[in-house]
């Protein structure tokens, strides 16, 4: 494993195009492909709940409708068994299929375009070793007019920049490796970068946080209040490796990403990602948001609820406890402009990430039956504006509409 990374680093550093030697069915290539598939978390989207790995069928809710993931096992009829390395590369690099049609960017080719050909070949070599699963998936379930794939040519012209990752010679190989993962295979921006009306990345707000599938993926730039500005590289490594650190515990889609993907990355890759992310500029360096006054009616109501329902775990200080109860004080996710994740967690509950490094897998219970919309709004307004936190108030109406869409709400 270490050798593979060194190869990659050397390749990136030198801009070489021959990072590994040998045929595409060699053990080394397949092993490398498996690690890259984990790094890219391919299985997360390409596996239906309870279904066979990589056989597709997971329904992704997009603002435009439902897209189901495709079968990428080597079944020749329903999977990608008949694809060549070139065709596989094109799918990742340009978002085009062997038939010349366009993929939808739910498949994050706008990020995968940065992958080197060696890496796509290795991933392809690995996927070819899987058990073929004969399973047809109707991927395109979008309503008109979005169901017309030819639309994507226009979309690409406006939103897609093709191009393999180019290492920055001014930066260290570690930084470049981190950038390659974050911007390419790791496709962090797919969740964390806000989208324009067409669903393309809003590049002016790169990694500044976005809502998707009823969660809000927070800002991961170096903002002090809203981002990871106060996190150390070690905090990031621990978070991505174990799902929790002294500050927080991953939940929702990020918990899934960590359990399936980043908990299995190499320490060197984790460190590289941390180095790169910590080098990103803060999105709002002069941010000086002011908290809502403690004597505001919503705040006093929220304080009473917090004391009664929340402080047992999250503590009066809002500091929580490492690996068990996330800190609310100073938490970026608590202070995001969009409180979707907070409302959702209070209404539905949530189980944090469970990994071998932090196996407790603690859960936040659902409060949907014991707190009404206004009470949820008040307590969230309180935690967003206490202990040095500052963020907009949450309205009962927002809770109400999220509750409507919550199971058991």
């Amino acid at each position: 494993m270490k050798r593979l990374i060194r190869y990659t680093l050397v390749a990136l550093a030198l801009g070489s195009s021959a990072a590994y030697a040998g045929d595409d069915q060699s053990f080394t290539a397949i092993q490398k492909g498996r690690d890259l598939a984990i790094l890219g978390d391919c299985a997360a989207c390409h596996t239906a709940p309870g279904g066979q790995a990589y056989a597709g069928g997971l329904e992704l809710q997009t603002p435009f409708g439902i897209i189901a993931s495709s079968n990428i096992t080597p079944d020749r009829e329903t999977g990608i068994g008949a694809w060549s390395d070139e065709q596989f590369y094109n799918a990742l690099h340009n978002g085009t299929t062997p038939h010349g049609s366009h993929l939808y960017p739910a498949m994050p080719y706008p990020a995968y375009t940065k992958l080197t050909r060696e890496d796509t070949d290795a991933i392809h070599a690995y996927l070819q070793t899987l058990q073929p699963v004969n399973k047809s998936v109707v991927t395109n379930r979008l309503p008109f007019p979005f169901n017309i794939r030819a639309d994507m040519a226009v979309w690409n012209a406006l939103n897609f920049t093709e191009g393999t990752f180019k290492p920055d010679p001014q930066k260290s190989p570690e930084w470049n490796r981190g950038a390659y993962i974050v911007e390419g295979l790791g496709h962090c921006g797919t969740c964390h970068t806000p989208k324009n009306v067409m669903g393309g990345d809003k590049n002016s707000a790169h990694l500044e946080g976005a809502s998707l599938q009823g969660w809000f993926a927070p800002n991961i730039t170096n903002d002090q209040r809203l981002g990871i500005g106060s996190w150390s590289e070690d905090d990031l490594v621990q978070y991505l490796k174990t799902g929790s650190n002294a500050r927080t515990i991953a939940s929702g889609p990020m918990a899934e990403e960590i359990e399936k993907s980043s908990a299995r990355w190499t320490d060197a890759d984790l460190k590289a990602v941390a180095v790169y992310l910590k080098d990103l500029k803060p999105a709002h360096p002069g941010d000086n948001a002011q908290p809502i006054a403690a004597d505001d009616k919503r705040m006093t109501a929220g304080a009473a609820i917090y004391k009664d329902r929340c402080a047992g775990c999250h503590q009066d200080s809002g500091k929580g406890g490492a690996k068990l109860f996330p800190a609310l004080a100073g938490s970026a996710i608590v202070q995001q402009p969009d409180a979707t994740t907070l409302m959702r967690v209070v209404l539905q509950g949530s189980q944090g990430a469970g990994t071998s490094g932090a196996p407790t897998h603690p859960a936040m219970p659902s409060f949907s039956h014991t707190l009404n919309d206004d009470q949820v709004a008040s307590v969230l307004t309180y935690i967003r504006n206490s202990w040095g936190n500052a963020a907009s108030a949450v309205a009962g109406g927002d809770v109400k509409s999220l509750r409507k869409n919550s199971p058991g709400g």
């Binding site: 329902r309 047992g312 775990c313 406890g321 490492a322 690996k323 068990l324 109860f325 509950g349 189980q351 469970g354 071998s356 490094g357 932090a358 196996p359 407790t360 897998h361 603690p362 859960a363 219970p365 659902s366 409060f367 039956h369 014991t370």
Partner: protein, 588 residues
């Protein structure tokens, strides 16, 4: 006909504290382990929601977490002249059900037994002479010493994150903690819980009596604690819903909090829930277990073969499975021959209640093991010369709750309902303090477990029959100790005090304790014990039976600390001795 399943290295019966510990230790050896649990899967995140976990009606009254009598029960009689009748509603004891077992709904008192407890017979004979032990008692040595058990106690305490204060570190008195405890190699993993008012004044009064109070060792976490498996506990919120309830805050140690999230990540471990083991199967020699047969929730019967069988159910089912499987000889009280069912024992408890009109205890601020204990009259911590009994009692001022339905202390003579009762509950709710005595229960030849000749369970298997009454020795013991404990109450000068001494006959109706012990006891003599010192069956060496069933008699302490330690003790023997050379670890 049972369908045969793929072979495993180890099959474990049950999935509570001891099963989780054994499974974790043996999967660390690389073995393929399956646990077969009668009840449902339960975990903190899904099943112990803070919004409903303190539902007293559901859990405290309707006993949601407990074994249902329709699943399995026992029949009961006080002595061999009576006909036993089935317990149709559990009362005196409340066996658990489901993953975590009784370790889900316990209070969390986590004791080490005294060094003299492990050598009960030898110690008493050495100190008081061969004839001192009353002839009605059949007490025995455990075959293992406290010194040998020390490391295993330590492992359990660190696994469970016990909050307490050492009294004896490596033979040195620390000046706090329990001065009577056996020497420990290191302190508890966490300091004691912050003390509340009732136990504080109890301790002050006990000191005035010349006694030595100390914070009760608690499995209610006093802070944030991460155990050696990487699992984290949070500080106890003192909500007062421990016993009969599960903990929503990761604060009370249990298999769910302290073992299972780690264990469940292992690919060589599997848990099958809602599956009830019918019997342990033997080969044609009757000397080797081949696995177990169990029935799943749809009534299908399965055979799980394994090289090693470990029975980790509650004592009743551990003992009954031996009987149902034809392992060992069932004990006969008339001839005093046979080992299975021998030395069933319990706990000899009494209590003292104090009514004040000038105190407010805020009794709802409570935890299962938050309190103060006095050990001066436990075991053989006091000189029994000239006394007419052996054994002793711990004094425990641990106001565990002030739950609204069951906790309505009223002075004797108050009507049970109506306006006078209402007024009395209002007057006394905040200002009443109780403490209890937890007494040893010493085995007697007449007290035993066997198979009921008349009543069967839903599968047609005989129910376990319990024959038990308090030995006169234990009644004399608890009377003496209760008088000593009442001295503390006198110091506190309550407006009224009520001393409730334990009397014969034993009744299965009012709740007393779920500390049922014995029936498949460990020891040194295969004619007087079912298990050797490693909890390995004398009769079937690839069978280990773990739990309080192994206690030759019960001490004046809650059993879980010792049960957990025995699990580690047996696991260590399996890992370091048995796996290298499978067979009897002690020659009969």
């Amino acid at each position: 006909m049972a369908q045969k399943l793929p072979h495993k290295d180890v099959v474990i019966i049950g999935l509570g504290w001891t099963a989780s510990i054994l499974a974790n230790e043996l999967t660390d050896e690389g073995l393929e382990v399956v646990a077969i649990e009668r009840g449902p899967w339960r975990d903190t995140g899904t099943d112990f929601n803070i919004n409903y976990v303190q539902d007293e009606l559901r859990y405290g009254i309707r006993l949601d977490l407990f074994q249902r009598p329709t699943q399995d029960t026992v029949t009961f009689r006080n002595n061999g002249d009576q006909t036993a009748l089935p317990v149709r509603q559990f009362g005196s004891f409340l066996p658990g059900n489901g993953v975590g077992g009784a370790g889900v709904h316990w209070n969390g008192h986590t004791w080490r037994f005294l060094p003299s407890d492990f050598r009960c017979r030898s110690h008493l004979e050495e100190r008081y002479g061969a004839n001192f032990i009353p002839s009605e008692l059949s007490i025995q040595d455990w075959g293992v010493t406290y010194e040998e058990m020390e490391a295993s106690y330590d492992k359990f305490e660190y696994l469970a994150g016990i909050s307490g204060q050492a009294g004896n570190l490596n033979g040195q008195q620390t000046g706090h903690g329990n001065p009577f405890e056996g020497p420990r190699k290191r302190d508890y993993p966490q300091g004691p819980l912050p003390m509340n008012y009732g136990p504080t004044i109890f301790a002050e009064a006990a000191r005035k009596c010349g006694y030595h109070p100390f914070p009760t060792p608690a499995a209610n976490s006093s802070g944030f604690y991460t155990n050696p498996l990487g699992l984290t506990m949070g500080p106890c919120t003192m909500c007062g819903f421990c016993e009969r309830f599960a903990c929503a805050n990761y604060s009370k140690a249990s298999a769910q909090v302290n073992v299972l999230p780690h264990l469940m990540q292992k690919s060589n471990f599997e848990a099958r829930t809602n599956c009830e083991v019918m019997k342990i199967n033997l080969d044609s020699t009757g000397k080797k277990a081949t696995g177990v047969t169990y029935v799943d929730s749809s009534g299908e019967e399965w055979e799980q073969t394994a090289d090693l069988v470990i029975s980790c159910a509650f004592i009743f089912e551990n003992v009954r499975l031996l009987m149902l499987s034809g392992i060992g000889e069932i004990y006969d009280p008339k001839t005093q021959k046979g080992t299975i069912g021998r030395n069933y024992a319990y706990q000899t408890n009494s209590g003292i209640q104090m009514f004040f009109d000038d105190k407010n205890f805020n009794p709802f601020i409570a935890a299962g093991a938050l309190g103060q204990s006095v050990d001066d009259f436990n075991g053989d911590n006091f000189d029994h010369s000239g006394l007419d009994f052996v054994g002793g009692s711990g004094f425990n001022c641990i106001p565990t709750n002030a739950r609204p339905i069951l906790n309505r202390p009223t002075p004797p003579g108050t009507p049970k309902w109506g306006s006078e009762w209402k007024k009395a509950t209002k007057d006394h709710y905040l200002s009443t303090l109780s403490y209890s005595l937890q007494g040893s229960s010493y085995a007697s030849p007449g007290n035993h477990l066997d198979m009921d000749p008349a009543y069967t369970d839903r599968f047609g298997r005989p129910l376990m029959r319990m024959t038990f009454d308090f030995p006169d020795n234990d009644i004399r013991m608890t009377s003496y100790c209760t008088d000593k404990a009442a001295e503390i109450a006198k110091q506190l000068n309550p407006k009224q005090m009520v001393v409730s001494k334990r009397k014969k006959p034993y009744s299965v109706v009012p709740y007393q304790s779920t500390h049922n012990t014995g029936g498949a006891i460990m020891g040194t003599d295969p004619t007087k014990s079912a298990l050797n010192r490693y909890l390995q069956s004398w009769d079937v060496p690839n069978l280990f039976v773990i739990g309080a069933n192994a206690f030759p008699q019960n001490a004046g302490y809650n059993p879980t600390g010792t049960v957990g330690a025995l699990a580690f003790w047996a696991a260590e023997a399996i890992r370091t001795q048995y796996l290298k050379n499978p067979g009897a670890l002690v020659q009969a």
